[in-house]
């Protein structure tokens, strides 16, 4: 196990370095940020002085050497736009993204497993049809439209929930529901398909013949075998969310890393883009290792390999 983890960490570390290199040079291909930092009416002389002062006039390779030197000293850059250290901005935003992703994915997985399993229990039945329709609608509904409609219905018309912002439980409901729709819809389909196969397998018949209760047959015997594909899909979807739930963060005013990253790219705030990529990439590598460990726990055959 230690060997496995060490190998994965090494691979991840190499990929991370490659990613940082790529991001460093690619963001600089978008151009000199001077024009975006200064007011439109700033004089040419002011622009030249500004670019010189902040090193934007230097070749990218020279900027990279400065970056490496700063990183070796633990300095990941300073956001001129926000006037704060870039890593501080990212680490401040990341817990919001993680909280949103964690709650949304946990609820999505739990609900999808229940709905998908029940739908597979009686294929073609009313529950199956309603569940499939709801999950397909959820998977295909545009986040932005659902978010705005949700605000207009539940906050403006019914006045049940706040429009946006962060706070106690009511503030979580709309963002989480919007964020859950797609993962829930996709995973219901995956769970249902996997469970259909599992429920018709020989070991389930054997379990029933031995008098095992239906709840145990579905949620213990069949679900464990069906869960590998669920873990795979859930892992992919979680990666998408911990990269930043941009729509939800933007519409509901949740200060997460997704919106920070998009704003930084648009404003050519290079240090913040680099820090955000570094943090999210690390989180994704860790998540992938976690998924690998889950595979091992769920399927003994992987352990033996």
């Amino acid at each position: 196990m230690a060997h496995f983890l060490g190998r994965r960490a090494l691979h991840s570390g190499i990929a991370l370095i490659g990613l940082i290199l790529a991001v460093f040079f690619l963001v600089r291909l978008t151009g000199d940020p001077t024009a975006l930092y200064l007011p439109i009416d700033a004089s040419l002389q002011t622009r030249i002085e500004f670019a010189k002062k902040h090193g934007f006039d230097r070749p990218a390779t020279e900027q990279f050497l400065v970056f490496l030197k700063d990183v070796s000293e633990g300095d990941l850059g300073y956001s001129l736009r926000k006037q704060r250290p870039a890593m501080e901005l990212v680490l401040e935003a990341y817990p919001t993204t993680l909280a949103l992703a964690g709650v949304a994915m946990t609820l999505s997985i739990v609900l999808a497993v229940i709905v998908g399993a029940l739908a597979a229990y009686r294929p073609g039945g009313v529950f199956d049809r309603v569940g499939s329709m709801a999950s397909l609608a959820g998977a295909s509904a545009p986040d932005f439209w659902v978010a705005i409609t949700g605000i207009l219905v539940f906050a403006v018309t019914l006045r049940w929930l706040p429009t946006s912002g962060t706070g106690d439980l009511p503030y979580w409901i709309l963002p989480i529901v919007v964020l859950m729709l797609r993962p829930f819809g996709l995973m219901v389909q995956v769970v249902r398909a996997s469970m259909l196969g599992a429920l018709s397998s020989a070991y389930v018949k054997t379990a029933r013949a031995k008098g095992v209760g239906e709840t145990a047959v579905i949620f213990v015997h069949a679900l464990r075998n069906a869960s590998l594909s669920v873990v795979t899909v859930a892992g992919d979807l979680t990666v998408g969310l911990i990269n930043g739930a941009v729509i939800v963060e933007t519409v509901f005013g949740w200060p997460g890393v997704g919106k920070l990253m998009i704003d930084s790219v648009i404003q050519r705030d290079f240090p913040t883009v680099q820090a955000a990529v570094m943090v999210t990439a690390t989180a994704i590598f860790l998540l992938n290792i976690l998924i690998d460990l889950l595979y091992v726990a769920l399927d003994p055959r992987i352990r033996h390999q």
């Binding site: 009416d41 040419l44 519409v251």
Partner: protein, 515 residues
């Protein structure tokens, strides 16, 4: 088996019903509490300010929070007519062409206890003018104009410039004064000024809070404090005011301004146009430029894809700015005249079949892309070959400012300019003089007039700027004029506040009262 299945389904059903009931109860009981205390206001902005340093208070994101609330200026520009009124200076006089003397208000304290006097004011102005700091006030409004200060009495300050500045009092309306204890080396996130409100706290990503300053020199404002929050989506901002979560959304989109009891339109000092690249054929021919003006049906966009409250523009400054020329007439939509002019140009050998590019900027104003598409179709209908390229701001800026690409095509550049600083000088040189960074024309006679206007004052100055605007419109035809734009604000039912032209960049809490 059958019995087990039924029992399982029943248990499942009970579970689902229970969950639904819980959700329903939760939904009903999760009433939303208004975030507003009795005497404070909540303002929902479109974005979080990048910083709050007083020397950046001319940036609208900073100014709406800080300007005249936390930090104040020596003079203030009246949004109604562009006149100058006292703020931290009580009076001023001209000593010579380059030097003005300001008498400072006595008994004024900064929020940290420091006194406002000639020494502290001098330090604050020097900080703004120092190139060590990237102060937007300096880079935007002063350019190569350098200021130096001298205290000639405890509350008498002389400000000198490196060249004649007949409107220095107007220019001082953009320089906010920060405490002498403010860092001289870096921009700060917690501004300390003399304004009626003290910076209290900033929770990044969440809110900025101001409290009323009990030691304020002026009239005690009714509003005890303010909370600033931000939401990118206009629909959300409008909804927040509607349900009482916020009191003011200073900037909402026209399509969200649907409640006449809450929504106000105001001239926002922005002027839109297509800047004509007069150096490139066929746009170097005046007939073709005039044809563009006649081919544009201004009434078609107003009230359809753009607000019904916008006004036709004929020049770069809005009517409240010194130098606006009301005598310049809007060219009426006349497609036949446009076609005739193009035919004449063609007969004279002008290559009117050359493709002209409209360079647009995404999100420059609401429905800006649609406006460009409509204008392109109008120009095509007049017989010109057009192509539209919409760009994000970073790419568009390359076309806005010099040095221009030598190999560029003939270009019409979608542009918008904001001037609520009281005088045409803040617009004209940069946009139209030979040395102007964003100028696409170079006319020696115009340059001479611009230089002359810059040295004049009073009525002479106004008339000279008016003539400059006439020449640009009628003689040079340097732009396809579009509109003087409007902004929309939503103001909640709890407070009295009327948005004005300055709402685009400032939001004075002291002007607000409760109903």
């Amino acid at each position: 088996m059958k019995q087990k299945t039924i029992a399982f389904e029943l248990r499942s059903s009970r579970l689902l019903v229970g969950a639904a009931a819980l959700a329903a109860v939760f939904g009903v009981t999760a009433g939303v509490q208004s975030a507003q205390a009795q005497k404070t206001v909540t303002v929902v902005l479109s974005e979080e300010p990048e910083g709050l340093d007083g020397c950046n208070s001319n940036r609208s994101t900073v100014g709406r929070v800080a300007k005249q609330n936390i930090v104040e200026t020596l003079t203030e520009i009246d949004p109604k007519d562009g006149s100058i009124t006292p703020r931290l200076a009580t009076s001023w006089s001209k000593i010579n062409d380059t030097t003005w003397r300001f008498e400072l208000r006595k008994g004024v304290k900064f929020h940290d206890g420091a006194s406002l006097n000639a020494e502290t004011a001098s330090k604050a102005i020097a900080r703004t003018m120092d190139s060590k700091l990237d102060c937007e006030t300096r880079t935007k409004s002063f350019g190569d104009l350098k200021l130096s200060t001298k205290a000639v009495g405890s509350h008498t300050l002389e400000i000198s410039a490196n060249k004649p500045v007949p409107i220095l009092p107007t220019r001082m309306g953009v320089v906010s004064l920060s405490s002498p204890n403010t860092s001289m080396d870096k921009l700060v996130l917690n501004p300390i000024g003399t304004g009626p409100y003290v910076f209290d706290k900033w929770t990044p990503g969440q809110e900025i809070v101001l409290k009323r300053f009990d030691g304020y020199w002026g009239k005690k404002p009714v509003v005890e404090g303010a909370r600033y929050i931000w939401r990118s989506e206009s629909t959300v901002r409008a909804a927040m005011v509607k349900v009482g979560e916020a009191d003011i959304a200073p900037n909402i989109a026209v399509q969200d301004a649907t409640d006449p009891s809450m929504d106000f339109s105001y001239p926002n000092s922005e002027t839109t146009r297509l800047r004509i690249d007069v150096t490139r054929p066929p746009l170097n021919d005046k007939r073709v430029r005039l044809a563009l003006e006649y081919a544009f049906d201004r009434d078609a966009l107003r009230g359809s894809i753009l607000s019904k409250d916008i006004e036709h523009a004929t020049q770069i400054v809005v009517p409240s700015i010194n130098g606006h020329n009301p005598a310049i007439k809007v060219r009426k939509y006349d497609p036949a005249e446009a076609q005739k002019l193009i035919a004449e140009a063609k007969a004279a050998g002008v290559p009117v079949d050359t493709e002209i590019e409209i360079i647009g900027r995404t999100n420059i104003y609401p429905n800006g892309t649609e406006a460009m598409e409509a204008m392109m179709a109008m120009f095509q209908a007049a017989g010109l070959k057009m192509k539209l390229r919409m760009m994000e701001v970073g790419s568009w800026l390359k076309y806005l400012s010099k040095p221009y690409d030598e190999n560029r095509a003939p270009i019409l550049l979608q542009a918008q300019h904001d001037n609520n600083n009281g005088d045409a000088v803040f617009s004209i040189f940069n946009k139209y003089a030979c040395g102007g960074l964003q100028s696409s024309i170079c006319d020696k006679n115009l340059d001479a007039m611009v230089a002359k206007a810059g040295t004049l004052s009073g009525d002479e100055r106004r008339k000279t700027w008016q003539e400059v605007n006439r020449v640009i419109n009628e003689d040079l035809v340097a732009d396809v004029w579009m509109y003087h734009m409007v902004g929309y604000s939503r103001v909640g039912n709890r407070i009295n506040f009327t948005p004005s032209i300055s709402t685009n960049s400032e939001l004075h809490l002291e002007d607000m009262t409760f109903k």
